[in-house]
Amino acid sequence: MSTIDTNAALPELAPVHNLPKGKLGVSLLILSEIFFFGTLIAVYLFYIGKDLSGPYPQDVLDPPFAAPTWAPMAVSFNSIFLLTSSIWIWLAVKALEQGAMARFTLFWALTIAFGGVFLAGTGFEWYGLIAEDGLWLNTNLFGSCFFTLVGFHAAHVTIGLLLMTIVLVLTLCGYNHQRHAGKVDLLSWYWHFVDGVWIFVFTVVYIIGYYG
Amino acid sequence: MRRAFVASGWMMSLLAATASGAAPVCAPGTAEMPSMFLPRSEPAEIILDITWLIIGICAVIFIVMEGLIVWAIIRYRKKRSESEGGEPPQVYGSNPVELAWTVIPLLIVFVLFLVSARGIFEIDKQEPPPGSLEVTVVGHRWWWEFDYGDLGFVTANELHIPLTKDGEPQSVYLMLESADVIHSFWVPQLAGKMDVVPGRINHLWLQPSRAGKYIGQCAEYCGNQHANMLITVYVHTEEEFARWVENQQKEAVEDAAVAEGRDLFMSTACINCHTIRGTVADGTFAPDLTHLMSRSVLGAGAAANTPDRLREWVWDPQNIKPGCDMPSMKLSREETDRICDYLETLK
């Protein structure tokens, strides 16, 4: 094109600040997820205290700041695992960027393990709620909201774990290298998001929903 | 040019519609067109005033914009004769002009906002005005229940209200509830609509200014027979209303001549759904039949309440109102006649 224009007085091309498309794409995915979870959280908040019958959150949930005994704090304990996994994945990505594959594998496996503990914890909690307390989606509003919100979060954790496991397998088979750090980093963004959402879910379900 | 004519033609037809409605020829007992341009009650009148104002404002904006567009087309249309002759001067924008058409609409909108906000607070009464007649309206699929509370009776599909009380305009305050899905109570000549939402109690304020019969209709889609969920409102003079109330308060008449039909009714499943006060029939699922014959319609306006139609209804309501919640009771023609003879005495 520029071949035709011999006009020497052409101005400089304006600088174009194109963004990296992978990062932007994942950010947009996260944006849409925020609106998805935002909706579920808004509904949860709306229905707090509107149940017609029990069990109520106070009967069956484990509150985070429960007085002397430590036992009921399972959920909070769990949450610590999930949140810590964010640190591991951050360290893992750092390691990959530096090409330290062994360190990467270690932290990556830790992330999966911690995420797995969280998921297992959720499983135990659900087992208790469903089998012992008789709470399910169709029991009352609390059940509907709880299992939907926590369930969707758990589904996201599961997806994250699956993806991370794939990366782990690829790494162990020797297909993952320093040059893939960018893509692995994107996966870590998703994981951070899943963790971040949990802070809100936790606050809404176990604090506001319990004490409010 | 043609475009302008077509467009302004629509505005004219709007106005014509209003004008034709404004001079009703109205035999007694027949209803006027359910037009919001024939307000017969205070809130509807307030709304109509606001309506004229916004129609006016919007018409002016429309005509001005339309004029600008049409003029631009005529004035700047490229003539066939005009040879190519290069491009017209390029104008990239103009701050003052653009500022003007940001600010002017803002001002118009602000005025509109003030007027309508006032209207909202005038019409939307959160508490019943003193001395109101209070009626609970329950929307069912697909008929209306009117519970006169203190007056001690329940009726269906036809709302009766007084015009005045002691010579003063009478406020009527409706409490709207739903038994199933969302409906909407809309009698355009009396007030704007108000949704009837399950799990909520909504309110609607009426203050009729002329006696007569007014037609309205459920305005929120509520399933199969949404189209046949009509509302009839009778605005009576004080005395007429008192007479109507007195009759409604009575229990169902006992007429030995139709005892056979009565017994048949009482031994059929009818009583599970319908109430006839003073008898064993006390179902609440369906319209109260105590004074069925005081109503002019069957099935919330699906049919006129004539002896023939009543027989057809009881024989098989699904023919008249397909999908409605009253099943065909599989009576014989004979039984149907007996029952209907009885029902016809329920004046």
Binding site: L13, S32 | M36, C58, I69, I182, G192, R200, I215, G223
Partner: protein
Amino acid sequence: MTTAPESPRLALKAPPLSRLHEWVVTVDHKKLGLMYITSGLLFFIIGGLEATMMRWQLAWSDMGVVMPDEFNRLFTMHGTTMVFLVGMPILLGSANYLVPLMIGTRDLAFPRLNAFGFWLFLFGGLLLYFSYFGGQGLYGMGSAPDVGWFAYAPLTERTFSRGHSTDYWILGLLVSGFGSIATGINLVATILCMRCKGMSLMKMPIFVWIMLIDAILVVIAMPPLAASQVMLLFDRSLGAHFFDVQGGGSAVLWQNLFWFFGHPEVYILILPAFAFVSEIIPVFCRKVLFGYPLMVAATVAIGFISLGVWVHHMFAVGLSPAVNTAFMASTMLIAVPTGIKMFNWVATMYGGKIRLHTPMLFSLGFLVQFLFGGLTGIMLAVVPFDWQVSDSYFVVGHFHYVLFGGLVFTIFAAIYYWFPKVSGKMLSERIGKWHFWTLFIGFNLTFAPMHVSGMLGMPRRIYTYHADRGWEIWNLISSIGVLFQIIGVLFFAWNLLRSLKKGKPAGDDPWDAWTLEWSTPSPPPAWNFDVDPEVRSRRPLWDKKHPEDPDWKYE
């Protein structure tokens, strides 16, 4: 003009099966764009036929053309189809086709995601229509959803809508909705990451700007719908109580959730219309778009405000006067940025040399009809007036003026404008003018009287009405209008098919236009541009055609 080499063409046509295969596996934005648009147009015919049935039934009082439940399915499927299976794919398709060409790049940011999005959309749509067969098992017809396009709870709960038809509504839209989100993400990423040299944000064609805002709206408005639909699905299939009033759920909550999506959705639908005319009007007036920066600002403002007005669909629900007043204010505010756009388009016409070709005719039709629809929208925003006409035919009139008179008219404008680029053939101007005038007359005949019947008390979604209501004449006119519309659509179909066979060759730049897509051959080669374009202004081709007075001096 271009020194680009002839794009190499295969001399032999591939056999049909492998050509089909090529379309099925393609990840090319142009092919996907065309598939989006074609399926949108086919769905338009289906939705139009449904509407025709309704108008036939309503042409006179007490008609018996269809049964009540059939009628209810018709308007549900008609509305759902037109919004989700006509408006959405055509907007996503045209953005797909044009955005990369306009920003001078090879494809969307994520081509495979793009294909995925398209197929999700298509299968979602087919799933919705499968309800006609699958809604109650396989016996008999007529089991499509019948709950209205906004599916108000609790009517959609299992208690009141049995069988599976409502589940089809949920799942079909859920699937196609995910496709839309994917494509929305893709479009934003494309626009923000792949612009050619020199195309800073403020040098993007206005079309691209509007599509950017539109795609962002898609990304944030569709997920709440998906979440709500999932909750409804849980209610229906797992016995949850979100919208189940007997179980303490709230009917109004669904309305809030739906309209939080639904209102942005209608702006998602109209923004592409703005995008089309913002490109077409300048070219056919031979003038640069008036007030580009303010246009951009107005688009952003519309995007923002549209997220905060949803309660105007719920004025009659019985919310408090304060809430109604607040949302009335935000709703009315939208007149300001929209007005700015109207005024800027008209200002673009002033002092121009207007060529009344078919794309321009349709754009003018848009200006007139959208103005009308916008003003009735403002009337609806006036709460007391809305209490009268909400859920009446006045609303039906309003939204057909903006959706049909606005969106569909500009879709036709866009097809007449870009068809030469896409196919290399011109559409017939003569048939195009017939198409325009029959559709224009038919459209106004059909939808203008609805405002009257609405104010005369006719609610929407009624399958019939009694003779003594006095609504016949208005309905009859409406229904007669549909005949004209059908003729118009047939003219269009004829024009398309005829031109594909034997239309005049178009050349690269038949309209003497200014944006990058016209600098590449028609149809564009798979790689779009032989040389990566560079731009110095919003109208790169203008600069090239008028080196003595280029745009970049003024921007």
